[in-house]
């Protein structure tokens, strides 16, 4: 979950406790903070850039196909002739530049549109070409109104959100140009070349959030509207879809001998669509939800011939992928180190998770199995301006360490087996440029592990320690100047085995 103080990984139970307590204390403030956190946390634009490549490619393909018979689809005497559309689209607002293009200019205008869509796809002057692509998509869709289907809707939705965020900041010609400029500048000034650092962006987060929410709306209505139909209850719906010869690309009539397959697929589809908007936000369940979505859309594409629609939905699912995962997956590909760049750490960007009040401060990764103690400690450090990421699991802490780039790691080791603690410790300290590790052990644990976990860079604290002392030790280690503002609350609380 995200709080006004930073990003915290809590179990559902912990999240509920925290949220109830917060709502009781200050519901309006908490709601406002949650809103700001959700929409305005700066994020890595890599996911948006990846969506641009896939959705932009689909946009280009879609429009190339329109070009197979422009007079039929866009001509004055075509399927979608203006006088017919005037009746069909009566009273609607239907902006399209095609209304002003005469028949002899169809091909030149179409070629210009294809060129713009190509530039958007490769990420050239993306801020401009994304908006132009949006105008093109809307114009084609309204002009060829009667030939549209879900693909065109999704094309427009994704293109709109790609206009909002910096979709060309990475994996693009724009990025390549900025690298070339930086190289030229370094050569001119005689300084070592450093690749331009990638800024986290609030608009990237805004765009991703909007895509995510729009997909929740799509699936919620897709699922709920199906509940009106008897076939979606009786289990026949998937059979009816497969038995439609006009949709079919692979014969699925063998299902007639195995009705339970149709039942299973029908019920699963309904359950998945109706629950998507809720389950997708639960982090441990998210990969399963996305995997099921991939299977469903790949099935629609492969078996019902709508692979363009299936793919565009899968491309939209990328918005739910963590930026760190996308970077890791793309990192090994050729040219990627240049095209991806290095992400500017949050604390150096001058941006914060909560844009109005959060301070630039060290980032702590707090690992503790005890919920209550963890919340107590996090609250203490949050109140003193620290960014905190938290975990109850050592393995998850390893992953968080990579994604949050903490300045220090604090492990309340009392809840784990000795072997787990020493493994985490050794693994952590063996990393180059390892962050300082503060490990708080119980007395008995310390006796058992005596001599096994003391190395440079790690700080082992045995027994009880006050939060104030721990904070001072962390600050000294990080070479921070303390504001020396002691709080009664802090002095009264201590952590460790006896707390």
């Amino acid at each position: 979950m995200r709080t006004r103080y930073g990003s915290v990984n809590l179990s559902p139970g912990q999240t509920r406790i925290y949220q109830w307590a917060s709502w009781l204390l200050n519901p309006i403030r908490v709601a406002a903070d949650a809103w700001n956190q959700f929409w305005y946390s700066p994020s890595d634009p890599v996911v948006l850039a990846l969506i641009r490549i896939f959705a932009g490619g689909m946009l280009l393909y879609t429009h190339i196909i329109w070009g197979l018979n422009l007079p039929a689809f866009f001509g004055s005497n075509g399927w979608n002739s203006p006088d017919v559309l005037a009746v069909v689209q009566e009273d609607g607002i239907v902006p399209s530049f095609w209304w002003y293009v005469s028949d002899q200019w169809l091909m030149p205008v179409h070629c210009l549109c294809i060129a713009i869509l190509f530039l958007f796809w490769i990420g050239f002057a993306t801020r401009v070409t994304s908006v132009l692509s949006m105008i093109i998509t809307i114009s084609y869709s309204y002009r060829a109104h009667m030939s549209n289907f879900g693909l065109d809707q999704l094309n427009a939705i994704l293109c709109f959100y790609l206009c909002i965020g910096p979709s060309g900041a990475l994996l693009s010609v724009d990025r390549w140009i900025s690298v070339l400029r930086a190289r030229r500048k370094a050569r001119r000034e005689g300084v070592p070349y450093a690749a331009p650092v990638v800024s986290r962006s609030i608009t990237a987060n805004l765009a991703i959030r909007l895509i995510q929410l729009h997909f929740c709306v799509i699936y919620a209505y897709a699922g709920l509207s199906k509940l009106q139909g008897g076939a979606w209850w009786s289990g026949e719906a998937v059979w009816l879809a497969f038995a439609n010869l006009e949709y079919q690309s692979i014969s699925m009539t063998w299902i007639a001998w195995y009705p339970w397959i149709s039942d299973l697929m029908t019920h699963t589809t309904i359950l998945w669509e109706v629950s998507f908007a809720a389950l997708i936000w639960i982090r441990p369940v998210r990969p399963i939800v996305l995997a099921m979505g991939f299977a469903m859309h790949a099935g629609i594409g492969g078996m019902m011939g709508m692979w363009t629609f299936g793919l565009i939905m899968i491309f939209g699912h990328l918005s739910f992928w963590p930026a760190g995962t996308v970077r890791r997956l793309l990192g090994d590909l050729p040219l990627m180190p240049t095209m991806l760049g290095t992400l500017q750490p949050l604390k150096q960007t001058g941006q914060s998770a909560r844009n109005t009040e959060l301070k630039v401060a060290p980032v702590l990764l707090w690992v503790d199995r005890t919920v209550r103690r963890q919340l107590l400690c996090l609250r203490y450090f949050w109140q003193r301006g620290y960014h905190c990421a938290a975990s109850r699991d050592l393995q998850e802490a390893r992953e968080l360490r990579e994604t949050t780039s903490p300045d220090a790691v604090v492990v309340m080791a009392t809840g784990w087996e000795d072997e787990e603690v020493t493994t985490f410790h050794d693994d952590h300290c063996s990393r180059p440029d390892a962050e300082p590790l503060f490990m708080i052990l119980s007395k008995s644990q310390s006796a058992r592990l005596n001599g096994r976990i003391h190395t440079a860079g790690s700080h082992v604290i045995t027994g009880q320690v006050s939060l104030g002392s721990l904070r001072r030790e962390i600050q000294e280690t990080l070479n921070h100047t303390s504001d020396d503002q002691e709080f009664e609350w802090a002095a009264e609380h201590s952590i460790g085995e006896d707390s």
Binding site: Q153, I218, T253, Q348, H459
Partner: protein
């Protein structure tokens, strides 16, 4: 103890704790947010609220729908339509049904008669096929008064494309077989599953 944090990443707490940070302000941490930035922030929030209301309302107005959702939609419709976001997302709802095809006959000036039906699997690639399928679905699912207008447009295009003098168009409903029928040896394209409904005959001089 060895601190492994590079000096460049160390930030004095006491210096930064007193200075709110503006979004996207680089290292301009000391600069308070101007009233223009605050106004912009408020506008973005208002837009977000309207946008979310709009995209949630649009599908809710697909019938059956409430008077309230239709009222809200009336307010946001220009926004939704302007951005081509006015969609229902009722895919295969309430349930998958029979499909519609268009059957046509074009007679040229020299007496040659051309016949065809779309969609057909000779139309490739698949997306191009699907465009034609959506045309036939639109015609087949339109109410009769709209069907009369749409079919005229179709006739005009066929007349133009095949240089015809007269065009005859009918819509063909292709019903779906049950599992029992398929198990008993039925095929998806059995003749009795198709039901043709003539929509009219049109002359070139009336169309072009």
């Amino acid at each position: 103890m060895i601190s492994t944090i590079p000096a460049s990443r160390r930030v004095p707490l006491n210096s930064v704790n007193e200075s709110p940070i503006a979004p996207n302000s680089g290292n301009a941490g000391e600069r308070p947010r101007s009233k223009w930035r605050r106004a912009g922030f408020a506008l973005v929030n208002i837009w977000l609220f309207i946008h979310l209301t709009a995209i949630i309302t649009a599908p809710a107005t697909v019938g059956p729908s409430s008077q309230s959702s239709r009222t809200v939609w009336t307010a946001v419709a220009p926004y939704l339509q302007g951005l081509y976001l006015n969609h229902g997302f009722h895919y295969f709802a309430p349930q998958p049904g029979s499909s519609n095809l268009v059957s046509w006959t074009v007679t040229r000036k020299d007496g040659t008669v051309l016949t065809g039906r779309f969609p057909n699997f000779d139309i490739r690639p698949r997306l191009y096929y699907h465009r034609h399928f959506m045309l036939s679905e639109y015609l087949g699912n339109s109410p009769p008064e709209l069907q009369a207008v749409v079919v005229k447009g179709f006739a005009r295009n066929l007349c133009r494309e095949y240089d015809g003098e007269t065009v005859t168009i009918s819509t063909v409903r292709h019903d779906l077989p049950s599992m029992e029928r398929v198990r008993a040896g039925g095929k998806l394209d059995d003749g009795d599953l198709y039901e043709e409904q003539p929509l009219g005959s049109f002359k070139r001089e009336d169309l072009l």
